[in-house]
Symmetry: C2
């Protein structure tokens, strides 16, 4: 299912030898439909990997037929040789599919600085195999091949009225930073032109993947692409389509959060009473990025003092002495002073809800994050990634 739930798509996942475990490591998604519309959003990191630089050009004209993805190397900061590898990968897939290389999106994930001749040879051979293995039921194989430190494949489907949108995601991102990349491929058989795909995707990622912030570290390779085949013959209402894409992205984002490496809590930070949505996001993100607070959560300590210390560093408009803070529904701080005792709060469940009322305005935002644990430090120190 996932990327092959929509009509007109084929996918595959193959073993190219990039992963030392011998597991599948190259995936391919191809749009065989009457339409070949595409939209993409990419990491806002200025340190962009070669496949990101390439793929931004590919999606610029709103047309793409294929997405080829590899793990086992980010192909980032690998010099001109690395950029040529990305180009060659697209050409290889294009030639086998009899399309233009400019219609092939390329995604890579793994260690930065890796992209030598061996890497190139394996990616090219894997891409050729992936074309051979393409199947209208290959969605799960593709979702499996893009896994890195993920413990399970991440797939989701949202049904529209006569059309469908499905997708797969891996990793990582700012979440399971062992491999520090979030790759997402979404497909739909709705008949939607590229401009509308783009606005729906932007709108969806703005309130889903963009609000997932496990460790504040932004990848060089993050890519989310949405392909439309038009095979359902139905053009949905704009709002209905955007809602479906948003629901799909929210589902995948929650799967990413739930599978974040090393995490022992999935934390939902709800900021209410902000002057603007942007300020609500800024405040929520300041909590997600506070090592002190995230370590306290790991220790099941509802340390509201660290919440106030974190938000005090933002430029959002509010009075720190007028803020309420609740952990799992228990208000521990009211108007910047102690309220109920911290012992009233049960921190043992994996899910934690932190509610912050700034009492400054009508805007709200929700940020998803994870705690800072020994396993996080271990995963990110014990081996290079």
């Amino acid at each position: 299912m996932s990327v092959t739930a929509a009509q007109g798509f084929e996918a595959s996942g193959v073993v190219a030898g990039l992963k030392s475990t011998g597991k599948p490591d190259v995936a391919l998604v191809v749009n065989r439909g009457r339409r070949a519309a595409v939209a993409g959003v990419f990491t806002s990191n200025r340190a962009k990997a070669h496949p990101v630089i390439w793929s931004q050009q590919v999606v610029a004209d709103g047309d793409a037929r294929a997405v080829v993805l590899n793990s086992g190397g980010a192909n980032c900061f690998t010099g001109p040789f690395g950029f040529q590898t990305t180009h060659l990968t697209a050409e290889t897939v294009a030639e086998a599919l009899d399309i233009g290389a400019g219609d092939v999106v390329v995604c890579s994930t793994g260690l930065i600085g890796v992209g030598d001749q061996t890497f190139r040879d394996k990616v090219i051979a894997g891409s050729q195999s992936a074309v051979v293995e393409l199947s209208p039921t290959g969605g799960t194989a593709a979702a499996t091949a893009i896994m890195t430190t993920d413990t399970h494949a991440k797939e989701a489907v949202v049904q529209g009225d006569g059309w469908v949108v499905g997708g797969m995601a891996k990793g990582a991102g700012m979440l399971a930073p062992g491999l520090a990349t979030m790759l997402v491929v979404l497909t739909t058989d709705a008949d939607v032109p590229a401009a509308k795909l783009h606005s729906a995707l932007r709108s969806a990622t703005h309130v889903t993947f963009d609000r997932l912030d496990s460790d504040g570290c932004m990848s060089t390779n993050d890519t989310v692409v949405l392909l439309a085949s038009g095979e359902s013959g139905i053009t949905p209402d704009d709002d209905a389509f955007t809602r479906a894409v948003t629901a799909l992205c929210a589902d995948l984002a929650e799967q990413l959060q739930g599978d974040a490496e090393g995490a022992s809590h999935d934390i939902t930070i709800e900021v209410v009473g902000a002057v603007s949505e942007d300020e609500a996001v800024e405040v929520g993100r300041s909590l997600a990025r506070s090592n002190l607070l995230m370590a306290a959560v790991f220790g099941n300590d509802p340390n509201w003092g660290r919440v106030l210390a974190a938000i005090g560093t933002t430029s959002a408009q509010f009075d720190p002495y007028d803020v309420d803070v609740s952990f799992n529904g228990v208000r521990l701080c009211a108007k910047g002073a102690p309220d109920r005792p911290v012992t009233d709060c049960d921190m043992s469940p994996r899910a934690l809800r932190i509610l912050l009322d700034l009492h400054a305005g009508p805007a709200t935002a929700t940020i998803l994050t994870n705690d800072l644990t020994h396993d996080y430090v271990h995963e990110n120190s014990a081996y290079s990634s």
Copy 2:
């Protein structure tokens, strides 16, 4: 020595019962000199503790005679009762010394939200004892009483031409965030008016304490004060005085870095080739705040890819594909591509030097930080602080 190295100062450190260990926990520094000039810099966190709010008012007129400091409670977000406790503490010291309460700086450190009647009673009684114990050789007792999770007292002295400047520091700050506060008291017998004290102190902290960033978490209680007694009768040249204060602050900042809780590496990040000093600081700070990079350093992994991923998130002017990165003198990345193999780099010493050449301009800056370790997570999750 330290705060009593300069003529005209007395100090003490006493047991008030705030620390469960029974160790000294209230310190007092008094200026008995002909001049009572003061300058202070405080946390830029908008979530300010009551003692910070109080002390900012005290130093505003350029006069202060005493600094009273307690551990065992930050007296932050403790409501109006907490602010009254700070006020009462100043009044208690003022009455015993026969000075005005408006000339008493108050500093607190410990858990946010702690400041009940028991806390108040102990701080008040401890402040009275501290006045009784004042001594011209009490500097080390004071430096010991402000220790929290510090493993040793931090003192330093810089000798001028007929005058001296000395100081003590504790903790913490953004460094050893178990108690999340940096408190620094500096004294001099140079005959310097408040305005010049202020400019010297600002200039010194700007390139020392402000460039120490272990975990990116800003305290609600950070305070640095400089008191001048005028007892040497000598008014130094402005530059010489600023240089001495800067050397003193640099010495104390290095002591703070070296004693940071949980750290296994003391990291000096040197950014060169920046367009401006501010941008060099921004770039250096982005490395210090990258959990991915700091965990890699803990694992003795010179992960230059994570350096580039971190700096790519800044707004500083440079081309990521034109940057050189060295670890301990070994250039691992040249112009955004692999240079020498990472195995050439010995990461085993505690001291690590990361040199980053942006090749964009003439400006430089140095940031001091520490790695992200299991002990950091343990210290900040295993107990509330």
